[in-house]
Amino acid sequence: MYTLQECQRLIRQDIIRMTSAAKSGHPGGSLSAVEILALLYFEIMHIDPTRPKMEDRDKFVLSKGHAAPVLYATLARRGYFDPAELTTLRRLGSRLQGHPDMHSLPGIEIGTGSLGQGISAAVGMALAQKLDSSQRYTYVLTGDGELNEGIVWEAVMAAVHNKLNNLIIFIDENGLQIDGATCDVMNLGDLVKKFEAFGCNTILIEDGHDYERLRSAIASAKTVKDKPSALVCKTVKGKGVSFMENNPAWHGKAPNVEETKQALGELEAYQNG
């Protein structure tokens, strides 16, 4: 197993290599979620890459399905499949579809890509865990732009109503969506207050790239007995690659040969936290 520091570097470099090879895809929102996925898959979740369908496992849903590269890289590095397959991303016939497909790749709990739907499905999974008297958790990651969708709030309402303390929602608050900054496109206001008002155990994580803060927030979420948790993570879109950071242009654009070289070089030296 890699150290978490190694994980973030490998996954970040994979994201760059994959999108570069595909000449399309979403590097920005993949890079902002690296630490969240690395921590979950390499430390927190009860999973077995050799038995992806193992009963009574923890589940992860990538509700912001366009960030498929970060999920694929994490799964590959964790041992679900050969990392050599990563560069087939988005090719005709590849198991690495533009948006995750649960029937093609091991480790994908459900297909996503249409924003807002993954969190709703995660509520269903958490409910099923309760029905099955499981002690396991369902983790879900949403984008901040994604929170524009009404279904997200319908899902949160249902999670609170059903007292799903086994549901932990990560919000990748990188401040950007496609048409610009979230505050300019559709202002979300104070997310902590919003999730609190909906009845979630809400924790603000000032630096969503800091493993220690993420770790302690998850631990504290797990002490709650009667409601779901919302972890509002302040992140940087494009984190780790200077020219991608905080730049909405890198939402859905792949780096060219030169940019790839520079990005990989920067990431070689990049240390998180």
Binding site: A22, S24, G25, G65, R90, R91, L92, G93, S94, L96, Q97, G98, H99, D101, G111, T112, G113, S114, L115, G116, G145, E146, N148, E149, G150, Q177, I178, D179, V185, M186
Partner: protein, 308 residues
């Protein structure tokens, strides 16, 4: 080669100049749909709904009920799918002046894959009372279609693609609300096509001509209301119909044709389209090939149909 989306943007900008009542909404995809061009020119009449297609459609209905002519845009899968029931009840139920212009229809979306490739939008839009459905064959036609959409009363759906399209019309298309265009005359087989398949159908007709088979090619850009007169006149001549569309064979243009033929003049018919399955990731050109949406396949199907 032209880009339907850019012509859409240009038409919108002009419409905005001509008519103060034109309002445009988008759902965080304005750079892709090109409504960003309208935003740049008439920013005060552009509203970004964020990633909230249902609310966008509801706002459009309210604006239209207040006398505005509203264009709403996003990718076809979200504009027709996510917002469906609001389109049905608010927009069409009240017969409001909302023009749903969606880009990124069909498998030619490419690498984004199945979730983003709408192959059933014609079917679901066509099924709603009061809704008109248009599919652009190229950039020039997209431009005319958008201009027409602004003129007509009530809701309509305009289907555009992401990828560049072969030019069908030289520089100006004359899109008419009533009449489907016969692009090539022939007496042996009627080939009906819409969208990216129109240029392929024309190419197929050329290939068939070499074998002395005279195909009539009709651009069925008005799927609803359908031009019964033109399509019946054609099949009465040829007695066989081949429908070609970048859409599911269930409920799309082919189905619309079959509904007319089976009632008024049954003919032997075949459907070239997507066979009840989802799309997948790949390059647009590869996917059109993968799903057999090609000139060669049209030629092959024409032969088979004629032999039947």
């Amino acid at each position: 080669m032209g880009e339907m989306r850019k012509m859409y943007g240009r038409a919108l900008v002009e419409l905005g100049e001509e008519n103060e009542n034109i309002v445009v909404l988008d759902a965080d995809l304005s750079a892709s749909t090109k409504t960003s061009m309208f935003c740049a020119a008439h920013g005060n009449r552009f509203f970004n709904a964020g990633i909230a297609e249902q609310n966008m459609m509801g706002m459009a209905a309210g604006l239209a009920a207040s006398g505005k002519v509203v264009f709403v845009s996003t990718f076809a899968v979200f504009g027709t799918g996510r917002a469906y029931e609001i389109t049905r009840n608010l927009v069409c139920g009240n017969n409001l002046n909302v023009k749903i212009v969606c880009t990124h229809a069909g498998v030619s979306v490419g690498e984004d894959g199945a979730t983003h490739q709408s192959v059933e939008d014609i079917a679901i839009m066509r099924a709603i009372p009061n809704m008109k459905v248009f599919v652009a064959a190229d950039a020039a036609e997209a431009y005319e279609m958008v201009k027409m959409a602004a003129k007509i009363q009530g809701p309509c759906y305009v289907r555009l693609t992401r990828s560049t399209s072969e030019d069908v019309y030289n520089d100006k298309a004359d899109f008419s609300l009533q009449t489907s265009q016969v692009l090539a005359e022939g007496s042996d087989i009627s080939i009906f096509a819409c969208g990216l398949m129109v240029s392929r159908a024309l190419q197929a007709a050329k290939e068939l001509k070499k074998e002395n088979i005279h195909a009539e090619v009709i651009n069925l850009s008005q799927i609803k209301p359908i031009d019964k007169e033109t399509i019946l006149k054609s099949v009465k001549k040829t007695n066989c119909a081949l429908a070609c569309e970048e859409h599911s064979v269930i409920g799309g243009m082919g189905s619309a044709l079959a509904e007319v033929f089976s009632r008024h003049y049954p003919v032997k018919m075949d459907f070239l389209g997507i066979e009840d399955r989802f799309g997948t990731s790949g390059k647009a050109s590869e996917l059109l090939e993968y799903f057999s949406l090609t000139t060669e396949e049209i030629v092959k199907r024409a032969h088979r149909l004629l032999e039947r």
